[in-house]
Amino acid sequence: MDLFRLHAYAVIPQRTSAPNSSVPPIGGAIKITPDLRAVMDTNTNEARFEQRPFVDFAVDTTTRTNDTRDAVINFAMGESATAKAAAVYLADRLSTAMDRRSMPCLFVPAALKDDDLFRVILWIFPREDAFQLRDEVGGPRIEVLTDVFSQKSGHRKAAQFDGGNIKTGFLQGRVLDHQADAVSRDFADFWIGRFLQCVLSLKGEAGTRLLAKTVRQTFDALVEPAAREQLHAAVMAMRNSPQRRVSLFTFGERYLDGVAKAQFLSNVKQDHALRSSFDFDRELFDTTLQFHIFELEKGVFVSTPPSELGETVTIKGEGATRHLTCQGRIIDEKLRTRHA
């Protein structure tokens, strides 16, 4: 796609500023030089949007409008003045979405085109202090630069949206946001929620069901007791983690390794399903995963919901010497020819 429009604005956090005291963003349209085009291409390639989570614009369902989406469309398809107004609106919106925990940043909206298809990439590059060594007549001197914006910072963020000039365009995009999984929801929601006015495309319930289904498939496919035990520990860790935003990929990376991890990841057929983040729903997870089944050496089976592990069902020991104890009042019993 061909980069045809690029703006840049210095943006400072103003979410908590007093009313009527906001400072307008400084910046405007930037001439696209070959060097700048190459730098933006590199940034885009390194962002690896194809591996990033999907987000959807949270539109008003009676009008199909969303202020950020409308500005993104105007930036891509409007004439210069319309595009500038859209970019200023976005910069202003970004400023009022950021509080003092965020660093001042360089906001760079970029528009690309390929035939009838448009793409908008919104970037923020955080400000960093940098040293500059100067070799001067009186000797070398270090200058501290405070107006430098980092392209490689882990705090940089980006969002990419595509579409044509039709009502189904620019509804879904991908985001680069390393803070989106943060434990603090307020911090995590700054880029996707407050600024972009988006929500995760994989909703909490759907993602949780997908995770539970994949865990079940993995458990059934694993034969080694150690691998099954690791999966079990991963389930317990996920249930108790304060980090509620997760993807199947991060679940695999964070809690599994070896055979269990390989089996788990291979059970997710689509890469975009694997990489899509969602907000974990513990109650639904327990309901969907249903029961954990243990087979004891004398042919006894114990089925338990995960929530009872460590409570009325306890397991002691490790590996092949694990022992299970279960205690509770019997409220029903069934006679079967074999275990279900």
Partner: protein, 213 residues
């Protein structure tokens, strides 16, 4: 253009069919355990129906890119027992799908009876996109979801098969016959709703000593 669109749609029909199956399974999972769901179904739009919609002379403005713009290429329907179930199902579906449009179809005038249904246009979530869907850049972003009662369905579905979409295409006496069916369906839905409200209230009441005998 028509031939090209027809050819492209024929090519994508297997992708749409695969996606319809995934969407139907997802909705069944999402609604698991919810009472009063009569059935869940999902279909890919047929080629004649798609072409008919894409090149309908009444489209104003005409579709510039029907392959991307027509949003019911994959459409699911949930049929429920009672009117009060519609909102329950709708809310539950919105915990799985992100909506871009939501509306309730009903006759414009109070004294009219006709087609009724709750509609949602939602973005197709990433885990329901097949590799073939992702590989094409002209697939629609959205799918359609409908929720209606058995009686709403009983009124709408037989007519759908006749292909008549506009009332003015029908003779006056036939229009009145259909209005009578719609009114009967509307009345039956409301009567059933009153029955259900009575039944729920009765079940919620603690049993009296007499009733235990």
């Amino acid at each position: 253009m028509r031939e090209q669109v027809e050819r492209s749609y024929r090519e994508r029909e297997p992708i749409l069919n695969d996606t319809a199956k995934l969407v139907e399974d997802e909705i069944r999972e999402a609604l698991r355990g919810i009472p009063h769901v009569d059935r869940v179904s999902c279909r890919a739009k047929s080629l004649p129906s798609f072409i008919g919609k894409a090149f309908d002379a009444k489209n104003n403005p005409p579709y510039a890119d029907p392959l991307s713009e027509i949003e019911d290429q994959v459409a699911a329907r949930v049929i429920v027992f009672f009117l009060s179930d519609i909102d329950v199902i709708r809310e539950k579906l919105l915990r799985t799908f992100n909506p871009v449009e939501a509306w309730r179809r009903r006759p414009a005038r109070d004294e009219e009876f006709g087609y009724e249904s709750a509609h949602l246009l939602c973005v197709l979530p990433p885990h329901l996109k097949t590799a073939a869907w992702i590989a094409r850049d002209d697939m629609p972003t959205t799918i359609e979801l409908q929720v209606r009662t058995i009686f709403m369905h009983a009124y709408a579905e037989p007519q759908h098969d006749t292909g008549y979409k506009a009332a003015h295409e029908l003779p006056s006496d036939i229009r009145r016959e259909l209005a009578w069916i719609a009114a009967s369906a509307w009345g039956a839905d409301h009567a059933y709703q009153r029955f259900w409200a009575w039944y729920e209230q009765r079940e919620a009441r603690p049993a009296s000593p007499d009733s235990a005998a």
